[in-house]
Assembly symmetry: C4
Homo-oligomer: 284 residues x 4
């Protein structure tokens, strides 16, 4: 249905219990990478917004996750890991999952060709895996933007799951020959940048919301996943949600929904989805 | 008054009882078409947002309409019907009206010339009528954008009503020689995209609202149509309103206003408007 | 201070009692003109939004004003008066003031030169005065945009007041040799387009607000003018505020603030300001 | 981490008590300068918005500060001081700090080269210091935009502190050889332009908010600085916050937080930060 490489097919999972909540909290550690991708000139103060996520956001987020006992998935661009080599080991030491967010936060559909994209994804994977000390299982595209080649490359690179599409409340599969890739689709309404992302020059964002308003919107979202199932995933950015005026709304939601549900890493959800769909197969 | 083809005239309906509420709920099933019209590159994840409307939105909407006993009108682009041939028959089997939303969701005023527009509208009509198994009575332009040729073409193609203009709370007529075309005008405030439409790259939308805020705005709108008459029409998109956190606000409004009013299809409203205005004539 | 033609000077009015409320409600009857100025192609449905103001908005506004006993000022573009010659006489017959809004709603600073602007303003004045049957006293620029020539031209054309600047809560004067022109400055927060103006293609507006939110903002504004003086002027557009879900907030404000204040036309306020500042002089 | 000139290093202050609140209110007196930097043509009414800040905003702000006993820092562009030579002396006479906001409000990264930027900053400093009658200690970049050269130039010009970066809730240092420059980082959420900045042509801003909503957001921000320490700085613009409907929210916050904290000028905070970090050194 979507424009995919010819060998790649989308496949619903008939054996999935559609009433089971699959909740996750994700943090895209964009740091400099996001701002370098939207601004042409070299502009240190603009770019410093992203560093707020590293210096102020990540430590608070780790404390909050430790307090609530939730394991999260952090999507890290290769460029960020390269510049700040302590981050990935710290995230892993704290018991969280690290996944690839590409190398440079460039929208993948804006790259010149398949080779450029393959290099972009390979470079990120190599850097991140060297730092993590183990294979990475997941990928999430910057700005949820993929090209017609992306899935094909993810298959070639042995990825377990992708978190880039926006077309369902439930996980599904992409298949290529005998391989399977779990898709964990997300939505803009469960993204903190939608409500808090902001910049003047270049102009970004849709205005800054009151944290309580966002808490009500996200509570409403999580409630539908708790009550009626699906992959309910909050995608956040340490520079945005890591502000002390905002992080408490996430903590409160985690505490509230942990009463009935378990927040899991994307890898954990993807693995169980894959088991359900066909226990005897693995991608790659 | 507006720039119309010379033979086309706008005509108020003197015999219309202006206090009668004419309520309708519409769903523009844009799927891939909207996103293909705003993005140059081939970008499957971007486009997947539209598919959410098909895979998640439409089934929930059909259930909600069945629960409330409301018959709606679904405006479908030809391209979407072509790619997803099960949709139109399913909508019709459920007792709803299908109308044309053009072929490709390209704003009509952006097409090269009258011939290109005639082809665009004819192609959509042919595909949709073949799938529906009967003649289509209505047309609604993508993004409420028509050219100076559009009405003239709709007359040539024997259309009963158009839902593209934004200039009144009441239906009126367009006339061309002896033919009459009912105009069912709408407004941006009764469109879900206004409050929930969103994308990062390209940037779309005005921020995502809390569903309860939108419910209050729409309740206020419907109340004016119930109390003082006119064509009160909510134009929604399955990918936007089909989210489980949002659809309940529509269900609640349908239940609330069904106490005093009947929600009708656009075709049903247009037919009664035409009867009122001149019982012995039909367009085309 | 601002960039003005050399002969024009800005002058504060020392004799003005700064605690006196000078309240006014204005309606810019832009109809087709606004939309013709923002869209290149000929697009009848887009333009029809403006006609809502004529067909639906103005009649309701006139009723509301009659009900509350408030006299308002209507700024009409020459192009709109030319296309809809019944409007200006109707507004005047209802006891309201008509002022010039230029001819075509083109931002004046975008015109080629002084001559083009002189023609634009003269043409509007001639059309409107012929229809009104008397001289017009006021001018308000489209989009509050004036060029370095505008004031100079207004002096040449014998204008009593301008309503285009945004630099004070109090009226002041522009002087040129022995002539005086009253400036009645406004603000974006007291403009309905700020909260309700909307279009998709081209994208306009900042999102559509709940009427009650706007009522609270405007109530807060009017309260400062009632309590501490100044020119408190609500600038509205019939196509925006003329909706039945919105107009009641204006009616309620007029009723509420009429308890302590009198809403006046701009001409009435300008005349008393001019008397206060120098009783024995008139512009032109 | 950020792209800085090679000789400049970022340095955390280990000796800083991170629980101490360092609160400040700042006013960027942009007047004509902001509007001249966003509009190409000469447009007096557009530019007049900035003058509202001088004629209406600054006097009210000075009264409000006097009433609450708070000393603030005013960042003034050289161009504004040059055109309105009474402002800087008036601010200083009232006991407030004046700092440099550059000369022309042009984003520094948009200037042609290092020399152009050096001239821009030197010119502002010379004008402001001549009017102030003493050396200026601080600099804050227009639109929080600096180039790779800015810090280097600030070191050369003997600046005590910069207020342009967006990467922490706490002050830190930049070092160059033996010199130290205090960085006082800010955030968009504590900026009034985020919530009230507005213009139609060119389109600016994210919609105008209700003052009470902004009061709640800022109260939440200040509370985190009061309770958990850091540089909590509200950056405001007289033309925006100087409106009588808005300034009371600032007064209320100053009164409320003065119960537990002291609002200080940026210079006072920077000096104490520098003492803490290394008592026997001074920059330049």
């Amino acid at each position: 249905m979507t424009m995919l490489a010819t060998a790649v097919q989308r496949l619903e999972i008939d054996s999935l219990d559609r009433k089971t909540p699959l909740l996750s909290v994700n943090f895209d550690v964009d740091a400099e990478a996001l701002w370098l991708s939207v601004s042409r000139a070299s502009r240190p103060a603009l770019i410093s917004q992203g560093l707020y996520g590293l210096t102020n956001g990540v430590p608070r987020i780790l404390t909050m996750l430790a307090d609530t006992g939730v394991r999260a998935t952090f999507f890290v661009p290769g460029l960020v890991a390269e510049r700040h080599p302590a981050i990935v080991p710290e995230l892993i030491a704290a018991g969280h999952e690290v996944a690839s967010h590409g190398y440079s936060h460039t929208p993948l559909s804006a790259l010149a060709n398949r080779q450029a994209e393959e290099d972009e994804l390979r470079k990120a994977k190599d850097i991140l895996e060297a730092q993590a000390g183990h294979e990475l299982l997941g990928f999430g595209a910057a700005a949820c933007d993929v090209s017609v080649h992306t899935l094909d490359i993810l298959f070639d690179q042995g990825c377990l799951y992708d978190r880039s599409f926006l077309d369902s409340d439930w996980p599904y599969l992409f298949t290529k020959e005998n391989s399977r890739l779990v898709e964990l689709p997300v939505s803009w309404v469960m993204d903190d940048f939608t409500f808090f992302g902001h910049n003047i020059y270049p102009k970004l964002g849709w205005g800054i919301c009151e944290p309580e308003t966002v808490a009500r919107i996200w509570r409403g979202e999580f409630a539908t996943f708790r009550d009626d199932g699906g992959f309910g995933c909050l995608v956040m950015h340490p520079e945005v949600i890591g502000r002390r005026s905002r992080l408490p709304i996430v903590k409160d939601l985690l505490v509230e929904f942990s009463a009935d549900c378990t927040f899991q890493t994307c890898a954990s959800i993807a693995a169980s989805v894959l088991r359900l769909s066909q226990p005897d197969r693995r991608p790659g």
